[in-house]
């Protein structure tokens, strides 16, 4: 039951994100969608990913997005047309994609689920430090490069 509640909130706010006129309200609905997504992770049984989703998406990325909205949109601006002329083709494209993916999904026989490890969080920590140590370091370098790049880009010289 609570899965369908979370999914409903998620899909409703996602639709609001792509259709609303006011970009700031879009950002608020995106925050709600990300919160619901985090709830879906908890419900699914992946609490670590849910916490990281809360921390990074809701805590960091959305703050950045709202800052960018504040910096780029003039409050006095009248609300212009926000969608281009491709609404109907885009709807058809998304619907056709959805149809083909769903039909292939329902024809696929998924293997029977295997029980998850007992302590998933400890397992993730161990795997990050042993098997995935190199990707972990590389991703930290990527983040550092992105941060320095962002600072260099917006610096006034």
């Amino acid at each position: 039951m609570s899965f369908f509640f979370l999914a409903g909130v998620l899909l409703f706010s996602a639709v609001m994100v792509v259709t609303l006129r006011d970009i700031f309200r879009c950002a608020i609905f995106l925050i709600i969608a990300l919160l619901a997504m985090s709830g879906v992770y908890f419900y699914l049984g992946a609490p670590f990913v849910g916490v990281i989703q809360l921390l990074i998406y809701v805590g960091a990325i959305m703050v950045l997005v709202i800052f960018a909205i504040m910096l780029t949109s003039r409050i006095s601006d009248k609300l212009k047309e926000v969608s281009n002329t491709l609404v109907i083709p885009a709807f058809v494209a998304a619907f056709v994609f959805l149809y083909f993916m769903l039909s292939s999904l329902f024809r696929t026989v998924l293997p029977s689920p295997t029980p998850a490890p007992i302590d998933a969080v400890a397992g993730i920590g161990t795997a990050l430090m042993t098997k995935f140590a190199l990707p972990f370091e590389v991703i930290s370098l990527v983040l550092l490069a992105a941060l320095i790049g962002a600072i260099v880009l917006v610096r006034k010289d």
């Binding site: 990074i56 960018a68 941060l147």
Partner: protein, 96 residues
């Protein structure tokens, strides 16, 4: 199964958004929706298959999304300084 359907619908909503939106920040937000849909797929199959690799990959995707958002928003702010708007349909300086 229902998680995959949810993730598919979410991905299609993001696809619709990125095609129709004209505001660059709104396009970026649609990309975030699509990345979330992909993440849900990864985590679902990870939990279902009893293998943690999918969840770790989802963490990497989240980190890359953070980097992408930082650089993308910096570029958008630069574009705003130059053109005083962020309407992607009116950024035609590279069009011949």
């Amino acid at each position: 199964m229902r998680y995959i359907v949810l993730s598919l619908i979410l991905f299609c909503i993001g696809l619709f958004g990125i095609i129709t939106r004209r505001n660059a920040i709104a396009m970026l937000m649609s990309i975030e929706l699509m990345l979330n849909a992909v993440n849900l797929n990864l985590v679902y199959f990870s939990v279902r298959g009893g293998d943690l690799t999918g969840q770790i990959f989802a963490l990497f995707v989240i980190a890359v999304a953070a980097a992408e958002a930082a650089v993308g928003l910096a570029i958008i702010i630069n574009v705003y300084r130059k053109f005083t708007h962020i309407d992607v349909e009116r950024m035609t300086s590279l069009k011949w």
